[in-house]
């Protein structure tokens, strides 16, 4: 694309168009254009102004689009990065054997008895002894750390140990400076008691902020400080596994058949149009399909990755078929002719020559399809993968949820703790998508052959 070399303000003295026609030229009907007249100059200047404005509008549009993206990223990262940190309170915990209901010998002999021991009570007692009970400082679920400690070393029963316990969401938010301390008590999520308590803890050095392992390794929970995305991640992984296992082979085989073996007639034209349209159908329609066929007619287990995977597979199938057909079409016919001329059968031509050459394109299309499936929420909502689950899914037929659905569920929750977790989950999702897309682009650049 060559830029036409126009100077910004018309005549820069290059070509002198002002010369009047020479005496010898014939006098044609129209007078020569008076390039030098004032109005012509004004007109040209105006046209260049319009040019600059137009070009500026283009840059403005790009800036707005890019700016929105930046704004989105900054907002999400800004509100989400805190979810990777967790505030803990230092509490001296007395592992009273009587309160626990189990002694050292019993703990050593029968580890399963520990699951019935009363760690909640021990924790409540110790917290009340240290801090009084006017403010909720320690999370309800923090007792798990106590059990872990006893499992590791039963000998601590009967002793008092300093334990770092997960703080409540309000303490957590105060530590992360997320709460506006100047607002009225009525408008704040934390009351004055809690702020006073927090100040005391801070002053005594009983607070610390560490990497939030619970977020990355735990399942969902009612309390924001205990909520984790591992359950949703595993659910997404299982679902995508099913999607890939179904849509990749079926899509590639269907593309091979339609491109290489099927006769070219009106029927195949209709099929091509219908597959192209299927790729543009809104994803929620596939959710309706999954609901009525898989759940109602075939009675498959609700909320299971199997059903989610099947539904997403139907959605991804047209994308893979279209990408694979394009990749197959790109293989030049001379290679096919050469193989046929040697005496290879049509199936051998496809298997030995066409498929290996078309594979990079097929894989790129599949990976991009998987990335799209990872971010899909609506179809999974339809088939019920929005259940509230506090345990990590165990298999393909157990109820599960997926990461985008988890984000959706959490986004409804207005407590500050959950806003932070939602953004954190979004960060994780975006990181995964970035990785997958980069992989696809890398594959495409490295392996795609240009004929």
């Amino acid at each position: 694309m060559t830029e036409v070399a126009v100077t910004p303000n018309g005549m820069a003295g290059k070509t002198d168009l002002s010369a009047a026609p020479t005496a010898g030229s014939s006098d044609l009907s129209a007078a020569p254009t008076a390039w030098n007249s004032d109005e012509m100059q004004a007109r040209i200047r105006r046209r260049y102004r319009q040019e600059r404005t137009f070009k500026g509008l283009g840059i403005l549009a790009l800036t707005i689009a890019a700016g929105f993206l930046v704004f989105l990223m900054v907002t999400v990262i800004g509100s989400g990065w805190n979810s990777f940190r967790q505030t803990q309170v230092l509490v001296p915990v007395t592992f009273d054997a009587a309160r626990l209901g189990i002694g050292i010998e019993q703990a050593k002999a029968d580890p399963r008895a520990l699951s019935r021991a009363n760690f909640q009570g021990v924790m409540a007692d110790s917290v009340e002894r240290s801090f009084g009970d006017d403010a909720q400082l320690v999370s309800d679920g923090a007792w798990l750390a106590l059990r872990k400690a006893v499992e590791a070393d039963p000998a601590i029963i009967g002793t008092t140990q300093p334990m770092w316990l997960i703080a409540t969401s309000n303490m957590d938010q105060l530590s992360k400076r997320q709460i506006d301390l100047d607002a009225d008590q009525a408008n704040r999520p934390v009351n004055d008691f809690e702020i006073a308590a927090w100040n005391r803890l801070e002053a005594d050095g009983k607070l610390r902020t560490v990497l939030n392992r619970t977020f990355l390794g735990g399942a969902d929970s009612v309390d924001p400080e205990l909520a984790g995305i591992w359950g949703a991640l595993k659910g997404s992984f299982l679902t995508l596994l099913v999607t890939l296992a179904i849509s990749f082979p079926v899509g590639v085989l269907a593309a091979i058949y339609l491109e290489e073996f099927a006769a070219k007639n009106r029927w195949t034209d209709i099929i091509e149009v219908s597959i192209n349209n299927l790729a543009a159908v809104p994803s929620i329609i596939f959710g309706l399909l999954g609901l009525s066929v898989f759940l109602n007619t075939m009675n498959m287990p609700r909320s299971a990755p199997v059903v989610g995977g099947l539904t997403l597979a139907l959605m991804t199938l047209p994308v893979i078929v279209i990408a694979s057909r394009a990749a197959i079409k790109a293989v030049p016919p001379s290679i096919r002719d050469a193989a046929l001329g040697i005496g290879a059968s049509r199936v051998q031509v496809v298997a030995h020559h066409v498929l290996p050459l078309a594979l990079p394109g097929m894989l790129t299309g599949t990976i991009l399809g998987m990335a799209r499936a990872l971010g899909e929420t609506a179809p999974l909502l339809m088939i019920g993968m929005r259940a509230f689950l506090t345990s990590v899914p165990q298999g393909l037929t157990q109820p599960a949820t997926a990461l985008p659905v988890q984000i959706f569920i959490w986004s409804d929750n207005v407590s500050r703790g959950f806003v932070e977790k939602t953004s954190g989950a979004i960060i994780v999702l975006l990181v995964f998508l970035l990785t997958i897309n980069s992989l696809a682009i890398y594959l495409r650049n490295r392996f795609e052959v240009r004929w």
């Binding site: 137009f54 907002t75 339609l258 929620i284 329609i285 139907l314 929420t377 985008p404 959706f408």
Partner: protein, 464 residues
């Protein structure tokens, strides 16, 4: 024997069949000498033939077992119960059966229904018996198939042809799956919508203006008005997707495409296009969250500041703005393609007359590229009206028929989500109305897509 165990045994059988067939094939090859045509097929095809003939019948039996097995066992267990142990309705029976299944799996130690324990024992027995039946049938058929195939092997046996024909069948089946999905969608939507239209008349649905989808459970229930006029939904969908979003997306998308194709240096284009693609790759749930978190409050504050006091925090404007930004890459990429397809001779002709680039674009290239651009816009509209998460999270569920962008409206997609989450009985008009909405959505997007693709195709052909 469990189905998984038999599956593995069948696989092993297939492997052995392959090996034996291949051995025989290799013997043929050695005897025939290395001449083209002495043996019809290479040894691996002989092996594959035997393996397929062994594995296929066995898999068929396994498939039947997988589909029917549980039903057969259930039926036997239920028929063995004393009368009155379980209620008559399907719901009672299926609840009882899941209890029995739970007991068998060891999920819980005791069940509510006293007959469940005895039933669990009967279940285990029946399961084992059917397992033996099906498993041995599968293995027997597999062995017979493999043996029969092995005896057919001869030097001039066309094993490769058979194996390739089998692979062709596999290809055809795969294609059928891809094709049947379309029919499946249409069929299920039409079927459920038909049931809906037997309860609510199509005229009320398509032209009614009151949307309040309650169904009465009892005849005297208060608040069971049950109006299913979908016009507010259609309006909300168009308002957000086709009007507000397009007001944002068309100018921005078109200008970015113009700048990138006509003005930008190749290096700049290489950086800018991926940025736009990232915009397209962000999941819609993220856009929705962002819209609800940041954009909606900002819009409400803005509305209050210009005097509209009752602006809600879920507004059509918030959803429309974010959706518009999401659609920018679609419009931009289609406009990009359309502008690139205009022959450079047209552009050069205009520039050669002394027109500025912007005049060339406005007066020559855009009119020339217009069909392609219009097609792109139609596809973008189709995408926008099918979008779910942004509207669910930012636009709300109030079926309002309003032109005030600061009010909350709802769309077809948001309603589908609302109607189908939570408890549903599958026969109520409320649940079925979701399918009717889905059918309308599918038909409209289909029509837009077909028309848009046809327009773009015709436009391309005009310039090829």
């Amino acid at each position: 024997m469990s189905i998984g165990f038999v599956f593995l045994v069948v696989l092993a059988l297939g492997g052995m069949a392959f090996w034996l067939g291949r051995q025989r094939g290799m013997a043929f090859a050695v005897a025939g000498g290395a001449q083209v045509g002495s043996v019809h097929s290479r040894p691996q095809y002989h092996g594959a033939f035997v393996a397929i003939m062994a594995v296929l019948p066995a898999f068929l039996v396994l498939a039947i077992w997988a589909v029917m097995g549980e039903g057969l066992v259930s039926r036997e267990v239920l028929s063995g119960l004393p009368a009155g142990a379980v209620g008559d309705s399907d719901l009672d029976r299926s609840a009882f059966l899941s209890e029995v299944r739970g007991l068998v799996r060891g999920d819980y130690a005791a069940a509510f229904n006293p007959s469940a324990d005895g039933a669990a024992v009967a279940w285990k027995l029946a399961s084992a018996r059917y397992g033996l039946l099906f498993g041995s049938a599968a293995l027997a058929l597999g062995l017979m198939g493999g043996l029969w195939a092995w005896t057919r092997l001869k030097p001039d046996f066309r094993a490769r042809t058979r194996v390739e024909r089998f692979m062709m069948i596999l290809l055809v089946v795969a294609s059928l799956v891809a094709i049947l999905t379309t029919f499946g969608i249409v069929a299920s939507l039409v079927f459920e919508s038909f049931r809906f239209f037997q309860i609510v008349s199509p005229a009320e649905f398509l032209f009614g203006t009151k949307w309040s989808p309650q169904t009465a459970i009892r005849a005297d229930q208060v608040g069971s008005s049950g109006a299913f006029g979908a016009v507010p939904l259609f309006w909300g969908t168009i308002f957000i997707g086709a009007i507000i979003a397009m007001i944002v997306a068309i100018p921005l998308g078109l200008m970015t495409a113009i700048y990138l194709t006509q003005y930008a240096a190749p290096g700049f284009r290489k950086v800018a296009k991926p940025v736009l693609e990232v915009l397209a790759g962000v999941p819609t749930v993220v856009y929705g969250f962002f819209a609800a978190l940041t954009v909606a409050p900002a819009v409400r504050d803005f509305a209050i500041s210009i005097g509209i006091s009752n602006a809600s925090s879920e507004s059509a404007l918030a959803a429309g703005l974010v959706m518009g930004v999401m659609i920018i890459p679609f419009v931009s990429s289609m406009a990009d393609d359309a502008l690139t397809a205009v022959p450079s001779s047209m552009r050069d002709g205009s520039l050669a007359m002394g027109a500025t680039p912007s005049e060339t674009i406005r007066k020559v290239m855009i009119p020339a590229a217009l069909p392609g651009i219009v097609g792109g816009v139609l596809l973008a509209v189709s995408r926008a009206i099918g979008e779910t998460m942004i509207v669910v999270m930012a636009a709300g569920l109030a079926a309002n028929l309003t032109v005030n962008p600061f009010n909350s409206v709802t769309t077809v997609t948001a309603q589908i989500v609302a109607l189908l989450t939570g408890d549903q009985e599958f026969d109520s008009a409320k649940t079925l109305s979701a399918f009717a909405l889905g059918l309308v959505l599918f038909l409209v997007t289909l029509a837009l897509n077909i028309y848009a693709l046809a327009v773009v195709k015709k436009y391309r052909e005009a310039y090829d």
